[in-house]
């Protein structure tokens, strides 16, 4: 249990670039180094983590449950999110304390613009598999963009897209 907590604390502390970027690290730890999960079970966990709402690192709850039951699920979940939550809470405090400092405001404005720009890189990474399925599908992505801008709920759009995809797969697959 202690090892479970320590290993997932480390995953949280090293997950630079977000949860998706940390999945290889989780694979190293749970499959290769400790043998907690078979690689098939790990793949199932990743699939479930993507299918559930919220962060993909909730994968920790799955691994924790398989290793040590309910207590394990709770331990691994708290451990993997402890450092990121603490850092984020700390940064909001620091930002609050320095509010009104011209330098920090400038830092926030420039860093903010850069962070939004970086979403473009994420977007390219997400568009790539869509392009690989069929380039014309990106037109449907654009349709989702327009629908969301016109007020359609993101959750409903996701549900509709999943249903349409499932129907398409069932008919043609």
């Amino acid at each position: 249990m202690v090892e479970l907590a320590l290993r997932f604390l480390l995953v949280g502390a090293l997950a630079f670039g977000g949860g998706q970027a940390a999945l290889p690290l989780v694979e190293r730890i749970t499959v290769a180094e400790t043998g907690w999960l078979s690689s098939r079970d790990f793949a199932t966990g990743v699939g479930l983590a993507n299918a559930t709402p919220g962060p993909v690192l909730i994968l920790a709850a799955y691994v924790g449950y398989r290793v040590a039951g309910l207590a394990g699920a709770l331990t691994a979940t708290l451990a993997v999110f402890a450092v990121p939550v603490l850092l984020s809470a700390l940064s909001v405090r620091l930002v609050g304390r320095w509010r009104g400092s011209a330098r920090l405001e400038a830092f926030g404005r420039y860093a903010g613009a850069a962070a939004v720009g970086l979403l473009g890189v994420t977007l390219a990474a997400l568009a790539r598999p869509v392009w690989d399925l069929h380039p014309a599908l990106l037109l449907l992505s654009a349709a989702v963009l327009l629908a969301e801008r016109r007020g359609a709920s993101p959750v409903l759009l996701l549900a509709a897209a999943a249903l349409a995809g499932a129907a398409w797969g069932a008919v043609l697959g």
Binding site: F16, V95, F107, V116, G120, L126, A142, V144, P154
Partner: protein, 182 residues
């Protein structure tokens, strides 16, 4: 700054709901936050969400959870941050534990693969929409638009944390002594 400060119970309810609805990764979650917390409840502004993204992006960990924690902290300080984080993560943790307990696995069927493909299509569109909205609120003026474009281009080659901190540091160094600019 937000016009109305919610109570901790209202905050917990709101983030519990967001945690249950945040399917599809960071882009879809950002679109959801913008819709619910900014447009719907008016607790935060689009700028607050952009600022949250700017300060948590260089940190390790799940970005969408950290944006939730940052906004919770912006609304209600330390307790708000903690409650937002716990509430946001609770639905996923419960679902995931239940799935592990039931030894559920996703079927490897054509319809399931189709559904995943459909979600990928939608998520790309939702992220583009979130990015559009944030670009409008964050990149006022020619210099910031340039920073945004440069970060996007450099992002393909350099670590994200380096770019965000570098851009922030450049801004602080260049503009620190002066007042508003744009």
């Amino acid at each position: 700054m937000p016009p109305g400060r919610p109570g901790l119970a209202a905050l917990a309810r709101a983030f519990l709901r967001l945690g249950a609805l945040a399917f599809g990764g960071l882009g879809a979650a950002l679109a959801l936050f913008q819709r619910d917390l900014a447009d719907g409840r008016g607790w935060v502004s689009q700028r607050d969400i952009g600022e949250a993204l700017a300060f948590v992006k260089p940190l390790p960990g799940s970005t969408m959870l950290q944006v939730a924690v940052f906004l919770g902290g912006r609304l209600r300080g330390g307790p708000g941050a903690l409650i937002a984080g716990l509430a946001f993560i609770a639905p996923a943790a419960a679902l995931m534990t239940a799935a592990a307990a039931l030894a559920v696995s996703l079927p490897d069927a054509p319809w399931a693969r189709g559904a995943v493909g459909g979600i990928q299509v939608a998520v790309a569109g939702l992220l583009a929409s979130a990015m559009w909205r944030l670009a409008r609120s964050e990149a006022g003026g020619r210099v910031l638009t340039l920073v945004l474009a440069a970060a996007c281009a450099l992002g393909f080659f350099l670590p994200a944390a380096l770019i965000v901190i570098g851009a922030g540091a450049a801004g602080a160094a260049g503009r620190g002594g002066r007042g508003a600019d744009g």
